[in-house]
Amino acid sequence: MKEPSSNKLLKLFLYITVFAILAPMVIITLWAFTNQWSWPSLLPTSYSLRAIKEIFAPYGNVFPILLSSIFLSLTVALLSAIIAIMAARAVVFYDFFGKDLIDFISMAPNLVPSTVFAMGIHVAFIKMSLANTPLGVIIVNLIYTLPYTINIMKNLTESIGKDLEQQAYVLGASPWKAFLHISFPLLLPGIIASITMAYIISFSQYFVTLLIGGGKVMTFSMIMVPFIAKGDRTLGSAYALVFVLSTLIVFGLINLILKKFQKRKEKYNWN
């Protein structure tokens, strides 16, 4: 039984949250079609399809770049989740030298200003022939996403513990099967969180991707950011809209696929 007042407060909070998300979306959508919107008009004073035409213009390759950008970020997100699962298990379940250091090192790229970090890694990547390659961009993106995904997975792995897997072992499950049937489904919410988190970090990564990708590996941010930086609100909003919508679609698909996977695992015909 909740107190009615706390319920109201909760609702208010919910409305504020929804508003805080929806209001900018509405404004961005409006701006994407706006020509002039002078003060104090409540709605744009004139509309145009300039931005939409620009985005769909064939020379810009916006959609091929969007697709390859999604593919790149998905790769980063999946790898990031997989590495995070393994790293979290290593850190939580095993004792080894320098374990505490890992936490710190994984945070380091986020502590150093990204420009400084990127310059250093750029030189290193050139020497390793990783600069200007998708692989290099994936690796550098991973460096930025892993601290987040490892932390998510670490907390979850800690809370799930090893007990259930041990139970599975003695019930005849190999370590791999125990992981697949027991830990994986339980980690799934964290895996979804990790993938979405890593995806959004990678997808919106600009400077580091730009430097390591060197313009050879194009991502959506790289065509979007110049217009935002320039202050072109119409084009900036249109690109942002595509950014948000594509991300929502990708998240929807990730959720759908993983949930389906879980359902299938869980179901196996009891009716």
């Binding site: 002078s38 050139i126 692989l135 370590p175 791999w176 730009l210 430097l211 060197g214 313009g215 110049p226």
Partner: protein
Amino acid sequence: MKRKTLLIFLLLIAILTAGCSKNKASLNDNENIVELDPNADFDALVEQARGTTVTFYGWGGDENRNRFLNEQLAPKLKEKYDITLEVVGMDIDNILAKLAGEKQAGLEKGSIDMIWINGENFYSAKENDLLFGPFTHKLPNFDKYIDTEDEEVLYDFGFPIEGYEAPYGKAQLVFLNDSAVTPETPRNTQEFLEFCKKYKGKVTYAALPDFTGSAFVRTLIYDIVGHKQFLTMEADKEVVKEAIEPALEYLRELNKYLWNQGKTFPATNGEVDNMFQDGELVMAMSYGPYAAAVGIEKGVYKDTVRTFVFDNGTVGNTNYIAIAKNSPNKAGAMVVINEIISAETQAAQFEALKTLPVVAYDKLSDEEKARFDKVDIGKGVLSQDELLSKRLPEMPANIVPIIEEIWLEEVVGKYNE
């Protein structure tokens, strides 16, 4: 069991990365590397460049330019020379950072061929040995169309070019107002102060070191203390400060009447432009002399927007194309640059982008002249003649940052006692 897991994991990585590299394979390899023979004549360069790819790195925030390069220049290059032009949008800071990184790593075959550049960036790139050259003397169109004695062809922000970059387009600072809102257009700094008083809180400029804001401040300085002295001025903070002291006083006086009383300034000229579009400001400025026409055509400006400049003129500069020292395809880059400075391309660019052409009018044939003449530059702008007659040269590149520093210390939020 663990080994199996590892194997699956590795396989996954392999599949994913293979997918990626397949996706981008054509962009990724360096098969187009072309060694440059220093003694080759231009025809040989054209031959050498055939079938290659040239990358052009530069600011990507102008959709008109992106479209022009991709839809007009690139197909023409393909057809004429079988060269594939790859336009990559990247800020000059990042381009230089990339070049510096490549140099530090000792990469001889880099990823950048052509760079859109000028001013301080050219100065630092050339000083740091990041550029290839001299090369302009090898371009037939350079002699044919460019006024090789022009100050702006010899010097970029007072820094000798020495054949390391070829002119690409001309820019000039212009002011914009909406004639329906403010009928008057100040013709000098004195009138500008009156204008600001009248429209108190509705004028401002982008905080330095914004490119446009910085040029605006230099234009004001020129109008107050003249411009000639700076061309030979020593790049010393005290010297510069003394020379511009009357202008600093003027700027501090101006602060009282500016937007937010000059306590803060918009971070970029883009913001200033947005505020002007929204009617929050009565004046905007642009480095694109035909910004009014472009904006009206796009529909972001009202039809009543007009261009004006000071009687004594405004700062103008040229932007250039340079070639990276570690460019993998210097021959191709030179062929492309030669094409860009042709009368044909310059005219097309003038038509599409409304940038001032870099070709010398009197070197053009009648036919070519006609092409330029018939370009309708659009509404609300000044004629090319008027602009060029009121064009002031840029300060030396090394003085610009000093002024920006002094502005931050002496002008922002400061008032005369």
